[in-house]
Symmetry: C2
Subunit: 226 residues, 2 copies
């Protein structure tokens, strides 16, 4: 089971079985997951400069480096298939860039929530889908996606900020809620399209229900209402 | 001799002897060099999002990761001295952040020139000073600073851009020239302050002459007039 371990919170699990049937073809999966992961890095990396102090800069730059390592792991999987990673990702860039610009946040704290919430959701999602990949790829990709992404460092930054200014809590809770819709849409657009051309809503529902439940637990771990 | 190897160009050397006499105390050197290196990372990292295509994003994100690795190497040296890295860097943050905001550039190509030119100058400078560090630190820090920083990837991006739009060359050459003054000032402010309180201009001159000569060769390697 993919796990999101949050300090002092029970592990968050999503049910792989629900996801595996929605897994797109390997190259498509890798290209989209790699570009989404690059987006997670971009958001964290851009937030280093805005961090309130050098301690926060260290936390955010470490999380950025871990995200980039995951991205490069996925890129290496594309290269194993003798495909050019940049070319493979290009068709997804426009849509995902637009998603990123809509979700980046208007200040450093919102951006931290974005990193925590969207990386968490997308990671749960990608790890669920990875279980449906063929052969050895499933394990290798799960290992890459399951590696430490530094989300605990980001959660600690947010707890520190909310502790210092409790009025932040309601603003950030609202921002966290706004992120869910856009993130579920970008996730949905990454799924395998059935022959009918219409996603099977009955199949999607349990997947999205699980993602939202995991999101709620992640917000709880910050003391925020989802 | 510290070397900057630029593709198709002779190696660029600076004379360690001139620099070593100006080396500040170890902790001060490490804190300033680490924060400057973080700045190099921040600029590259922020430029990933603005890259014109996924291939450029890969080049810039790889260079960003290599810069961050150097930063973390320097942070580890501070930790060896049982000092808190964030606290050690804090006194230099304001001045260096201001330098970064003045030199970030107004478009992606200028930012690439900034990464190439200022990282090159600061790297030559820090590697020169590192030769004056005590004991084993000199070698260890030189190894960290001398590791690959991906400047060849940035130079290739710039050559590609200038090749596609030759009018860029004169604009970027002018931007490169503007960067030198601010970068030499920030370098100068990192030097050991002699007991007199005034830096010895006669000692500084050969150091700055060498840095500018290396800068000129670096601009030449892009086909730009320094």
């Amino acid at each position: 089971m993919p796990r999101l371990h949050t300090r002092g919170e029970p592990e968050i699990n999503v049910n792989k079985v629900d996801f595996a049937e929605l897994t797109p073809p390997l190259e498509q999966f890798l290209a989209q997951a790699a570009y989404l992961q690059l987006t997670v890095f971009e958001t964290l990396a851009a937030a280093v400069a805005g961090a309130p102090d050098t301690e926060s800069k260290e936390a955010v730059s470490t999380a950025a480096a871990l995200s980039l390592k995951k991205h490069h792991g996925l890129i290496a999987e594309i290269a194993r298939k003798r495909k050019d990673a940049a070319a493979a990702m290009a068709p997804y860039a426009g849509r995902i860039d637009e998603y990123r610009s809509r979700t980046i946040g208007s200040n450093w704290y919102e951006t931290m929530v974005t990193s925590y919430v969207t990386a968490g959701l997308l990671d749960d999602f990608s790890r669920g889908l990875a279980s449906g990949l063929p052969g050895e790829s499933a394990r290798r990709v799960s290992d890459i996606l399951g590696s430490d992404d530094g989300h605990r460092l980001i959660a600690d930054e947010l707890r520190k900020a909310i502790g210092a200014d409790p009025r932040l809590a309601s603003k950030l809770a609202m921002w966290g809620r706004r992120l869910v819709g856009d993130t579920l849409l970008i996730a949905r657009s990454s799924l395998a399209i059935p022959a009918s051309g219409h996603p099977d809503e009955a199949r999607l529902e349990p997947v999205f229900t699980e993602l939202i439940a995991a999101h709620t637990r992640r917000m709880d771990a910050l003391g925020l209402t989802a």
